[in-house]
Symmetry: C2
Subunit: 318 residues, 2 copies
């Protein structure tokens, strides 16, 4: 479950980020008027379907996993593009489009010469995913329910997630949650901490900064100490320093896969989660889960866009 977005990707220089006061590497939410101003100013772009959890499901499907996506598009051209791309990749996607009220969400992504992406999301219909859209049968049928932090911010999305968590746990399924910068903001962090303390989440994905913020910790061990009593599996990505997992009292660690040139880091975390989950669904070891995530992340940062281009199934050989 997550945001259904179309990515609008352009390159820019550091001065452009400074001029629009955009913190490099971060994600910020834009209202439609702000999005228009930024779009007018940014360069010629290419469009691909995006969204964090949607990217993960696209990647997991490419690795041979049986996946579905729950997310909200509008009944417009970008919604048609998003829907086509999910289905073309073998992802079940049956959430009916919104007929009125908002356009399909988009993410204006600015990529600098160092490969860093700065994301500016105009969520539109994506944040209008309602609890009624949660398909009970699909959630109960899935071994893992994977939730994207960005959708935990808006009230409707959060309610939809809580409903999905209830369905999943009633069927004895695993609930995985990927943190995002936005869930670490005041007003979002506290309800998430409460949900975690109540046993609502079984597996957390986070980068190092998000993990420290959520756990109110100063180092990764502190975050593990704080969270491991509440969450069965912790998975932390550390960029070029690789990834670590803590599960059943055991710490596992893998190095990052090096790539010839980092072109665009968009989707690195999403594809890491895709690889991890794909290997997990096939019953592989936690080290293999981490390694598979690393391979998928390395592929996606080697080109523009947050969806795999190479044949991921061949790369990860699950």
């Amino acid at each position: 479950m997550g945001d259904a977005l179309v990515d609008v990707i352009a390159t820019c220089d550091d001065d452009f980020l400074t001029r629009f006061d955009l913190p490099k590497g971060a994600m910020q939410l834009l209202d439609p008027a702000e999005a228009l101003v930024l779009y007018d100013a940014m360069g010629s772009a290419r469009e691909t379907s995006g969204g964090s959890a949607a990217n993960s499901m696209a990647g997991a499907a490419a690795m041979g996993t049986n996946v579905a996506f729950l997310g909200q598009v509008a009944d417009d051209q970008l919604g048609t593009i998003f829907t086509h791309d999910m289905r073309a990749l073998g992802v079940r996607f049956e959430t009916p489009p919104l007929e009125t009220g908002a356009s399909t969400g988009r993410c204006l992504i600015l990529v600098t010469a160092d490969g860093e992406r700065t994301m500016n999301t105009s969520p539109g219909a994506a944040h209008l995913l309602a609890p009624a859209a949660v398909e009970e049968d699909a959630v109960r049928a899935a071994s893992i329910l994977y939730l994207e932090g960005y959708l935990f911010g808006p009230e409707l999305g959060r309610q939809a997630m809580m409903k999905a968590i209830d369905f999943a746990h009633a069927a004895d399924r695993t609930v995985a949650f990927t943190l995002s910068e936005s869930v670490c903001l005041p007003g979002r962090k506290e309800p998430l901490q409460k949900l975690i303390a109540a046993g609502g989440i079984d597996l957390i994905f986070a980068n190092e900064s998000e993990a420290l913020q959520l756990a109110d910790a100063t180092d990764l061990q502190g975050a593990i100490d704080r969270l491991s009593s509440q969450v069965k599996t912790l998975v932390f990505t550390r960029g070029p320093a690789g990834a670590v997992a803590f599960e059943d009292g055991v710490l596992s660690e893998v190095p990052a896969i090096s790539v010839p040139q980092v072109i665009d880091t968009t989707g690195a975390g999403d594809l890491f989660a895709a690889g991890f989950l794909a290997a997990r669904c096939k019953g592989h070891s936690i080290e293999r889960q981490l390694m598979t995530g690393g391979i998928a992340a390395a592929e996606v940062i080697s080109h523009f866009g947050a969806r795999p281009i190479a044949n991921l199934a061949d790369l990860v050989k699950l």
Copy 2:
């Protein structure tokens, strides 16, 4: 002047082309229903602004040429994307969007592993460009009016072109025309031959096959013999064999620029014309015009999509 299209680019294998009876490397027109069927069947795609003459203007602008584009989009999301991309590249584009009746045109492009593109165009609003949309002042102000063969097929587009030719010639400007497979079809070829015989065209771009068809010739020399009495400048591209020009009784020839790997040939002819025209507008020699076209074409076949990614101005140093 040409089709305003958004390209929808996906890879496919040769079997897919066979299954849908699509001749590799060709362009065919689809009606909206046919386009839906093909889109449903094709893989996950990336979208970029396209259109043959529009690609050329984007490339010429990137090489520092002062350019405008005349073409028709609809008032929809794809039309907004096309408009944004033209303006972001510095191309003046002021044709008002159509409010009703058709969607912005798109071209479903299938790229096989050998880099060949097979194009399936659903022209939509693009072929509804009307004579009333031709901006007299813009045409009179331009040293070259560049016309795209694809838009010579539909009745409205052809009328708009004839009107633009009149404006250009009244102001003593050069009229350039790029052939396309579609203008070589019966019903289109004859009016074009008539236009050429009447002195309507001063410069022709064509690939070898189009040149032979238009001239009813069996070899390039035959085409030159037939056309050079009617058209001041002939420019023929020959793919990996380079390009030739015939002007003022002199034949000039340049080899193709070799590229490490041909990824996607979409836009090769468009960018060749862009480079040629950019160098011509700066007053360079005919050899330099051909060479500049070759450099721009080499850049665009080295990646997916028909618009330049590298800094063309740096590459061609005009």
